[in-house]
Symmetry: C2
Subunit: 299 residues, 2 copies
């Protein structure tokens, strides 16, 4: 680049970075050459030599799901506030992301391989992980209390034959519902999370616990199509607390998690880990965020 423009490297630096102490004519000539050659400075060369924004890797599921999108929105905003950039990836491409980030936050439970593989000691904060990793921080969800509240709410309204929709492998959220019903002496069957009303009707349920809000929306639509009254005949509960639950008919009751709080906690923790002094691990790299039950029209 400096060759064709007929100037030295550092003159290029001065022109491209709009620094003082350069002849305007020279600068214009250099910029013209830069444009001509489609030159732009290497992020790596620059990053090596001057302090630059750190980059946070954010690992989320399909952004089409507002649950992940809402979390990402808050993380983006908070990261910008702290002067961090954010690289995002969906689960498949974790390894690359690790090479591109200074720290990682996200739903590592979705990933195919363990996070941090190939890059030792990258600070990692896992959100709602299936199991604790000794070297990672984590954000844990506390569902028991809110689940009990939801169950009490359903029982007070006459629920006796609830059905809990769940992943094939089983999940903590479904287990929590089954347990809470059992505590009250009511048995809750578990069925596949993608089941439709044609599958469910034979069991004559009077309440459905969806796997998440998106599943709840799907059920509401399916029930409406079959002229099943909600909440009169069947009550429906979602999980996640999506803002969109306010827009469906009837509005979806749900076990909500405050994603802004999750994002804030995760960022605090990962920054703490990233800036932690050598050898010293923070006292307890865990934050707990509680769900809360939002009773709306569908129950």
């Amino acid at each position: 680049m400096s060759r064709p423009a007929g100037v030295s490297r550092q003159t290029v630096t001065r022109a491209v970075n709009d620094m003082p102490g350069i002849n305007p004519g020279t600068r214009d000539r250099v910029l013209a050459a830069a444009r001509e050659l489609n030159y732009h400075p290497s992020r790596f060369g620059r990053g090596l030599v001057k302090p630059s924004a750190r980059t946070l890797g954010l690992l989320v599921g399909d952004l089409t799901n507002p649950y992940y999108a809402d979390l990402a929105a808050t993380v983006l905003r908070l990261a910008a506030t702290r002067g961090w950039n954010v690289v995002m990836a969906e689960p498949g491409s974790v390894a690359d992301l690790v090479g591109a980030a200074d720290a990682v936050v996200g739903f590592t439970g979705l990933a195919l391989e363990p996070p941090g593989a190939g890059a030792p000691n990258l600070p990692v904060v896992e959100i709602d992980p299936p199991r604790a990793h000794p070297a990672h921080g984590r954000i844990e969800f506390e569902r028991r209390a809110a689940t009990r509240e939801a169950v009490r709410h359903l029982l007070e309204r006459g629920t006796r034959r609830p059905l809990v929709l769940d992943l094939p492998g089983g999940s903590p959220r479904a287990a929590a519902f089954v347990d809470a019903f059992a505590e009250a002496g009511v048995h809750a069957d578990v069925v596949d999370r993608d089941a439709g009303w044609v599958d469910l009707a034979p069991r004559a349920p009077d309440a459905l616990v969806a796997f998440n809000d998106l599943g709840g929306f799907r059920l509401l639509r399916d029930l409406a199509a079959h002229d099943v009254g909600v909440p009169q005949q069947v009550r429906v509960v979602g999980v996640d607390g999506l803002a969109l639950g306010e827009f469906v008919t009837p509005r979806l009751s749900t076990l909500a998690i405050d994603l802004a709080e999750v994002a804030r906690a995760a960022l605090d923790l990962v920054v703490q880990l990233a800036q932690g002094s050598a050898g010293g691990s923070p006292e307890d790299p865990v934050r707990v965020v509680p769900h809360r039950f939002l009773a709306r029209g569908s129950t």
Copy 2:
């Protein structure tokens, strides 16, 4: 790092990168020291010396809006396929993003300052930009045809007093609706995009064109709260084509854009610009993506 471990730099490289030709004992010792010192290799040092994934900057509005989230989801997936990383930012923080990316795609119309400021010749593709920028590629939306179709649909169903909700500054989408109504000899008033039914009712409209789908959802909810029949008393049209329009009651008719196609076109274009040979600009750095009208329950 190599000092405390008692080995040379390149032995550290071999250990950390899991390369062959290193004594297992040495490797373990180095890795232990790395963990102890909270060391991890500089992205910049490495990036300077070995070919690494390029990084795409993605500039979108609030991810809380499924419109942006859906676009981001597709961009993420497509970028991963091509081996690009993706840094995301919302409008305020464009400048930083430019320093962190090798190319930029997004809704630059949302940005406060022009994209590319401070970094000459960064390839940029703008989506639905307010005005053309000579050096940038762009994805243009073609709304006229679908807008005419939506208007014809409304007129056939008896619409005579339509209201178009718009930004304070005015927007192409609203203008297209007003024009299409005018062509058919029907006058459409423009009102603020945040207007509620209490503001609108005095004008006795029989159709409402929301600013976007989110606005449409809001209107549906507002109308339901006031016991206004949709579509019997008032018809409602949104813009964007969000999948969630299928879940509200009634389902929202909308001017849909295929965001997957937008993402694909934008990525093709930006990659082409990024890899373009010096001095040679592609024939025509513009792609046009048409809207199409989706008639659903709300009209």
